[in-house]
């Protein structure tokens, strides 16, 4: 069947704008306004894919994006629902999940061997033997795949948009449109989310477009913000509604939520109910009325209500031959349609599409065979309560609706339309209007005369419609009866699983994977739940729906991930480093020079002449207030009360476990003011740490993170004093600027705080100054140092230099269990202080004594042990290397390693091992370079 029906008003296609899509290498004609699915249907394509497990042919079923049947690879993106995807000129469309092609699938033979895939297949088959999994898994993967993941990187810019409104309406069917129109017209700021590209919901397919057109116009005129193509997929606490659409993720926060999520039409269960040509009435109505494609010439409609008759009339008016099979015994012929009352479909026949159905009384073994090429399942539905349930709404079984409906709603949450059980158009619209008015009134926007209107609406909203009659849970005939199309789960498999004891929905779902496929249970919940009840010997009303969890609609991971961004921090001197050819590396969020020339040359310069490194990334805190000393005394195990103004002390912060958090310099710059530096990567965490305790202790101190406000350089080397004296008029003699002093003077004309400390073990100055002068001071230092052969050095050289001095790096050489005694910092613990963080734990630790120690070691430079290499003793692991570098000064490899405490003695022989390599090494407790620190103090 192909081609289009004659034009009619209200059709979605624009016949004046034809275009062409590429369907598996063939050209398929389409019109603007088509979806891929409708265009393919018009082109006569009836098989839209192959099923997940058995590779059975499948065709369009719902046309609303609620089933798994039409997933295709479109322009490289897998799993696009072709039935709702608008056509674009030249788009490339391929069916998935079949080899060599969907029309001829060699895996289709699986269908005949389905006993190989019993329920719980994944659990059972691969428990034992274990090796089997690795053999079978790639084959299953290939067979069961859902499209191909694109190999190219996704550079789509995706935004996260935050929306705030008085009222958010989820679902743009008639009830939702009515709610949004009322709320907005009353003056409440209102957003409406509709997942499809057009509002109208179920009414979109209707032959009669009057209600829909009027409500769309009313909602548009009301000032409500209508977001089409925006699918809500979850409700989170707040509440926040999360939706995808409009190029990204939308987070909607509204004071009132109106759920108008409708209902999803459900198939019936009978043998071969998955054949192409078996459709829901939504698909038939949309194809015929909107896209003008007649999906079959001889149709059988199974129904028990007006929906079926509406679909039957639509088909008949389009020229098809129609039988109506009505489940109700009392149904008479209506509107000249041929009706078979009190009957159901017992089975369907066909291979690549339906060719006949057998019709008879429910439960009968044989029936009358009716040849047909289209079967329409009309008017069975499951309310879309998932999003509603995520708000905490309680559901209860409703006998008339044969469905679980909301019975208890959280405050400020409303449910209207089919999701609330409305089964007539007028009832649904009245519920929508009422909720819109109520929500508006609740946010202080009650329009005049609202009370009277609400009274009238309340009466109309109570109208429910006829009780629902559902088809039998299962039919008696031969052949597979599918409950879940996504995961290819049949009624028989559900029955077998229930017999094995998995007889509640939650268990059944996990065991058989029913409802866990791409439709998220939309197209199978009714069948699965009823079959579960039947198998468990209980009633539908007694089953409990599975817990609703996001996402309710499939969400691309890219939408959640947002835009691909890698933020980085650069010091104010960064550009100069780049100009001089620095190789950069990551240091936390920072980009820092790893080296400029070679690390060896840089080390050599610092040891023999002078070098400079940009240390602006150091964390810096200004601590000021009458109780500044008290704060530091409590934060550190060190003593600071006796630290003179203008002096620096090295300190380490501990937590209450006695574990080292960080180390750095504490400088007293005034009676009640300190300047504290911390490790680059720890700055944010330490700011949190310090301010947290400050909040708890409520001391009269202010702590300010001034990391970004100050740039810092470390000028180091035997000639650094000479360079300093060029840069400043201040007296920088060793008497005036002593080791461990903090002095304020101008450097290159910029007011600076100069600390005479030396991480690298040479005479050195750490110069802190306002960061805006970064480039100026750097240039001045390079200029002043040129006669002395100054070189800039990077992190790698600094690491070698500090390791030669055995200066530890917290986090590199220590871990989450390292206490000060173990790393040789016991000297800073002033146990006679009344209290400080870690004090109580240190009492126990001191008493027990360290079990392990961090010690220096040297070994032959022919092999450089990597960080993490093992320290072994007689083949047994006893410790590990935390840092190691080749040292020119020590003419060996120097490093730090954790060893058993008893081994912490000079010259103890240890063995280091990594992979196949190993080396003998010797413990060395003193620094490898200038052990007495004479150069530092010079």
């Amino acid at each position: 069947m192909s081609g289009r029906l004659p034009a009619r008003p209200g059709e979605a296609i624009d016949r004046g704008r034809p275009l062409t899509i590429d369907f598996e290498g063939r050209r398929a004609p389409a019109f603007e306004g088509d979806t891929v699915g409708s265009a393919l249907a018009a082109a006569g394509v009836t098989i839209t894919g192959r099923s997940f497990k058995y590779h059975r042919p499948r065709g369009l079923m719902c046309m609303t994006g609620a089933c798994p049947n039409c997933l295709m690879q479109i322009d490289g993106i897998p799993n696009v629902r072709s039935c709702t995807e608008p056509v674009r000129e030249g788009m490339r469309v391929e069916r998935q999940n079949a080899w060599p092609s969907v029309d001829r699938d060699v895996h289709g033979v699986l269908d005949s061997f389905s006993f190989m895939m019993p329920p719980g297949f994944y659990y059972k088959v691969f428990q034992r033997p274990r090796w089997a999994w690795s053999k079978v898994e790639p084959i299953i993967r290939k067979q069961a795949g859902l499209g191909k993941v694109p190999r190219t990187e996704d550079h789509e810019p995706r935004e996260v948009v935050n929306l705030h409104a008085d009222v958010a309406v989820i679902g743009g069917g008639l009830a939702g449109l009515a709610a949004a129109a009322e709320a907005a017209a009353a003056g409440a700021s209102t957003v409406l989310l509709e997942q499809r590209r057009e509002a109208g919901g179920r009414a979109l397919g209707s032959a009669d477009d009057v209600d829909r057109a009027r409500l769309v116009a009313e909602a548009e005129a009301s000032g409500a913000r209508i977001l089409l193509g925006t699918a809500a997929f979850g409700v989170f606490d707040g509440p926040v509604v999360a939706a995808v659409g409009g190029g990204g993720l939308q987070r909607i926060r509204a004071r009132h939520l109106v759920f108008a999520t409708g209902a999803v039409e459900q198939p019936a269960v009978f043998p071969n109910n998955d054949l192409p040509g078996v459709m829901l009435s939504s698909a038939v109505e949309l194809l015929v009325n909107r896209f003008r494609v007649l999906p079959g010439r001889r149709a059988v409609v199974l129904t028990s209500n007006q929906d079926g008759y509406r679909a039957a009339r639509t088909l008949r008016d389009a020229g098809a031959d129609v039988f109506v099979v009505d489940l109700r015994a009392g149904a008479g012929s209506a509107d000249g349609l041929r009706v078979i009352p009190g009957s159901t479909i017992l089975s369907a026949k066909g291979r690549r599409g339906v060719t006949a159905v057998s019709v008879g009384a429910p439960g009968s073994a044989t029936g009358q065979s009716i040849p047909c090429d289209l079967v329409v399942l009309a008017g069975f539905s499951a309310p879309s309560t998932n999003l509603l349930a995520m708000t905490g709404a309680k559901l209860g079984f409703d006998d008339d609706a044969q469905a679980f409906l909301p019975v208890e709603l959280p405050p400020d949450v409303h449910a209207v339309g089919a999701v609330a059980g409305a089964r007539t158009v007028q009832g649904a619209i009245a519920q929508g209007r009422l909720a819109g008015l109520e929500a508006a009134a609740a946010v202080g926007q009650e329009p005049p005369g609202a009370a009277g209107r609400m009274e009238v609406l309340r009466a109309q909203a109570a109208e429910r419609g006829d009780p629902v009659v559902l088809p039998p849970e299962v039919a008696t005939g031969e052949g597979k009866q599918f409950a879940c199309l996504c995961m290819d789960v049949t009624s028989k498999e559900l029955k077998a699983a229930a017999a094995e004891g998995f007889d509640s929905m939650e268990l059944l779902k996990r065991y058989t994977t029913v409802s866990m496929g791409p439709c998220q249970g939309k197209a199978c919940m009714l069948s699965a739940q009823r079959l579960c009840a039947r198998a468990a010997g209980s009633s539908f009303a007694e089953t409990r729906p599975t817990t609703a969890r996001p996402p309710w609609t499939p969400v691309e991971l890219g939408a959640l991930a947002g835009w691909r961004r890698t933020p980085r921090k650069e010091t104010t001197i960064h550009d100069l480093h780049a100009d001089s050819g620095a190789t950069f590396m990551w240091a936390g969020d920072w980009r820092r020079p790893h080296h400029f020339a070679t690390p060896e040359q840089e080390v050599e310069a610092v040891r023999h002449r002078v070098g400079v490194i940009d240390v602006s990334t150091l964390g810096k805190f200004r601590v000021k207030g009458p109780e500044a000393v008290e704060l530091l005394e409590r934060l550190y195990p060190n003593r600071f009360g006796d630290l003179a103004v203008g002096r620096v002390r090295y300190g380490a912060m501990l937590n209450d476990e006695g574990v080292i958090l960080d180390d750095g310099a504490v400088c007293r710059v005034g009676d009640d003011e300190f300047f504290v530096t911390v490790t680059t990567g720890n700055t944010a965490a330490l700011e949190r740490w310090i301010t947290w305790w400050l909040a708890d202790w409520r001391l009269d101190v202010r702590v300010l993170n001034v990391t970004g406000a100050f740039a810092a350089l470390n000028l180091a080397g035997p000639d650094s004093r000479k360079v300093m004296s060029v840069l400043t008029d201040a007296d920088v003699s060793s008497e005036a600027v002593k080791y461990m002093s903090a002095s304020s003077f101008e450097v290159a004309g910029v007011p600076s705080l100069v600390l005479r400390i030396g991480f690298v073990g040479e005479l050195g100055y750490e110069i802190h100054f306002p960061s805006m002068y970064g480039e100026h001071v750097w240039r001045a230092v390079m200029e002043a140092g040129r006669p002395f052969g100054i070189v800039p050095f990077g992190l790698e050289a600094q690491r070698v230099l500090r390791l030669e001095k055995q200066h530890i790096l917290v986090g590199q050489d220590t871990d989450a269990e390292s206490d000060p005694f173990e790393v040789g910092l016991g000297w800073m613990v002033k146990a006679d202080k009344p209290d400080f963080l870690g004090r109580r734990a240190l009492e126990d630790l001191a008493e027990a004594g360290p079990k392990e120690r961090l010690v220096g070691f040297t070994c032959d430079p022919s092999w450089l042990p990597p960080e993490g290499a093992s320290v072994v003793h007689e083949g047994v692991w006893v410790g590990r290397v935390t840092s190691a570098r080749r040292s020119a000064a020590a003419r060996s490899v120097v490093g730090l390693a954790w060893v058993p405490a008893g081994w912490a003695e000079d010259d103890t022989e240890i063995e280091i091992q990594f992979g196949g390599a190993h080396a003998k090494a010797k413990v060395a407790l003193k620094p490898f370079y200038d052990p007495e620190g004479a150069r530092l103090r010079s």
């Binding site: 989170f236 707040g238 987070r251 949190r688 947290w692 009344p834 209290d835 109580r840």
Partner: protein
Amino acid sequence: MTFLITCPNCGPREALEFSYGGEITRRAGPGSSSAELTGYLFFRENANGWQTEWWLHRDGCRMWFLAERHTFTNEIRRTYPPGSEPPVDAQAPEGAA
């Protein structure tokens, strides 16, 4: 983490702007027993219900404050700066069902 938290300084803001500091604890200082120390370091009430806890307005004013949050519903009934504990009202903290 999509609920709102009212910073005592800045007013209601998204929870994403804040860092969680955990339930309030009683610090085991000098003189406490080893059991008290390990209790303080490693054991928490982990209430299913109302809990007083620390929050930092990390991406805002950077204030640490206390909040009474229901751990099951994420409802926050009160936030306040430490040291300004409001008088305990008639409604005692209750556990959730």
